[in-house]
């Protein structure tokens, strides 16, 4: 067990000489702050209520090759501390995205990850090829492996190591853009899936997608969502997401992990960093607090300076490591 790294000079003083650095280096992909907007939760409308330039990055909603109209409504239901949604991947397809949605994202000047989704490996390949001309504008591709596979009876690629490896490999082989993979915590052994995805070419791992869930309206005997099953997000899933991040971090110490699931405060985010995330994404929280992502980043910075730490990397994965001891104690320890 190593003591947490300290800044502020060799004398072991806990007070940092400089403001902690907000930027994060994800094995080459630099984020200005450790807090991105999660896939499916960004729209340029957010710019009316928060300063988009203060975001650590933006993940687009998942883009498919052709347009998807999505499922009928109701597309949303509330569950205890959770949000159940099923939109059916509504989007206008790759071409429309590149022409009409991407420019506004790029204009924010923060790193843009394009999330891609498909129903077959072939589609992921086409998406990789189609995005290649945009390489300059993109920080990364986030392969949304939580999509129903036509060849797997509609089961998600991300459910098995093989499925995840297949779609990640398909994209990674065809692009020069760094590839992240978006996985689901709703598997028995998420570290195994993550490991397979990394071996197939993923630079980093985003966990977790919303979790498969169901809510029923006992008045009508119907599922509350038109899609039947939906994805559960929000504070309810935070402890599940956190545990998944921890599992992956322990198994893949060198792999950048983007933690996501129910984060709405700086303290929530620090839980993920301590568990091993390199940075975090905020989704559902933006729906009630449009400046959540910016506030989460501020909260992380406050945590760093309160603890005399120089950067997010000094917290990463240090669950169980004691906080920086006060200077006197530290000196005593060093003397021993």
């Amino acid at each position: 067990m190593t003591a947490p790294a300290r800044t502020g000079g060799d004398d072991g003083s806990a007070a940092p000489a400089v403001r902690p650095s907000a930027s994060v280096d994800l094995a080459g992909v630099r984020l200005p702050t450790p807090v991105m907007v999660a896939s499916g939760c960004f729209g340029p409308e957010l710019g009316h209520l928060t300063d988009l330039r203060k975001l650590g990055g933006i993940v687009s909603r998942s883009i498919t090759l052709g347009p998807e109209r999505g499922v009928p409504t109701p597309r949303v239901a509330e569950t205890p501390s959770g949000l159940l949604t099923g939109t059916g991947l509504q989007n206008d397809g790759l071409q429309a995205f590149v022409e009409r949605e991407l420019p506004a994202m790029v204009r924010t000047r923060v790193p843009v990850f394009v999330s891609v989704g498909g129903f077959s490996v072939e589609e992921y390949m086409q998406l990789a090829i189609g995005l290649e001309p945009m390489a300059e504008a993109l920080a990364a591709i986030e392969v949304n492996a939580c999509c129903p596979s036509r060849d797997r009876d509609g089961r998600w690629f991300s459910e098995t190591p093989e499925g995840a490896a297949e779609v990640v490999g398909a994209v990674a082989r065809l692009t020069h853009i760094p590839v992240f993979v978006k996985l689901s915590a709703a598997v028995a052994d998420v570290a195994k899936v993550a490991d397979a995805a990394v071996r197939a070419g993923a630079l980093g791992v985003t966990i977790t997608h919303s979790l498969p869930a169901l809510s029923v309206d006992v008045g009508s005997w119907q599922a509350r969502l038109a899609s039947g099953t939906g994805g559960l997000s929000g504070p309810a899933i935070r402890p599940i997401a956190l545990r998944a991040v921890r599992e992956v971090a322990l198994a893949l110490p060198g792999t950048p992990i983007l933690g996501v699931g129910g984060i709405s405060t700086g303290s929530d985010a620090v839980e993920f960093l301590l568990a091993g995330a390199w940075a975090v994404q905020v989704g559902t929280a933006l729906f009630t607090n449009p400046s959540a992502a910016v506030e989460v980043a501020q909260g992380i910075m406050r945590f760093l300076s309160d603890n005399g730490l120089g950067s997010v990397a000094d917290v990463r994965g240090r669950l169980g490591a004691p906080p920086v001891p006060p200077p006197a104690a530290a000196d005593a320890e060093e003397g021993a």
């Binding site: 729209g43 409308e45 909603r61 729906f287 449009p290």
Partner: protein, 290 residues
Amino acid sequence: MIRARCEVLSARKAGLFLSVTLVAPEIAEQARPGQFIQVAAPEGRQAFLRRPFFVHQTSRRGGWAGTLEFVVDPENTSEDWLAELRAHQFLDVIGPLGKPFALPRKPVSCLLVCEDHGSAPLYFLAEELSGNGHRVDMVIGGASQDRVFKPIEAKRLARTIAVVTADGSAGEKGHTVDVLPAVTEKCGTQVVYAAGPRRLLQEVAEFCRSRSIPAQVAVEERMACGLGLCWTCVVPVARRDGRGYDHIRACVDGPALNAGRILWDRWGARGTETMATPPEGFPALTGWPG
């Protein structure tokens, strides 16, 4: 679109409804009829989403300057805090949101049809329309007398009003749409605006289509954000070129929509996957007077 911490100036009963006045100068300044606000739930609640409410009234001048009023239907919510709103508490509010009703540019005879909390946006609209020199008539429905929102105020705002209740406890007994043929005839209605339950909107839309009267409706759909981010609040509308349809967002592209564009039978229908797509050549009214 502004976010503000707003004091509740008053929260008064109006029939079964709760009429809430906020101190919200910037939002009040911008709000147009048909737009809504998103009210945050208190911290720590299991149901954490904001709740959307139509702007019912704004005061930009006089003693109430800088205030905004919205109307809560306590029977339509399971959240206690909404029904228990009280003066002097503070609410975290975002607004105004969404597309307001389009106003006719030249003077026309407008009929406003509402039920339940649908009165909220339409009274606001009535004020605006009369102020602009349009003739305004109103049809106000509800299950019973105490679910008819402030009929006295309606009388002040409109040339004529017709009240319809399901149980006959106020006005005529029957369905709201039952009176439309007579009222539109009598008032020489040229455009219709409607707000209220989806059933009412659809009935109004069908009536207007049959009479070729342009209509706008303020749609409601379950919203996760109300801001345009989540794409949960979609309504199926015919493409303007008449070929196929799109899912557009009630919170950004609506609430006020051209009634003729909405594919009512497809909206919220289960098992629509098996319906023929796209439904070409639906009969839309594309014109809007003025």
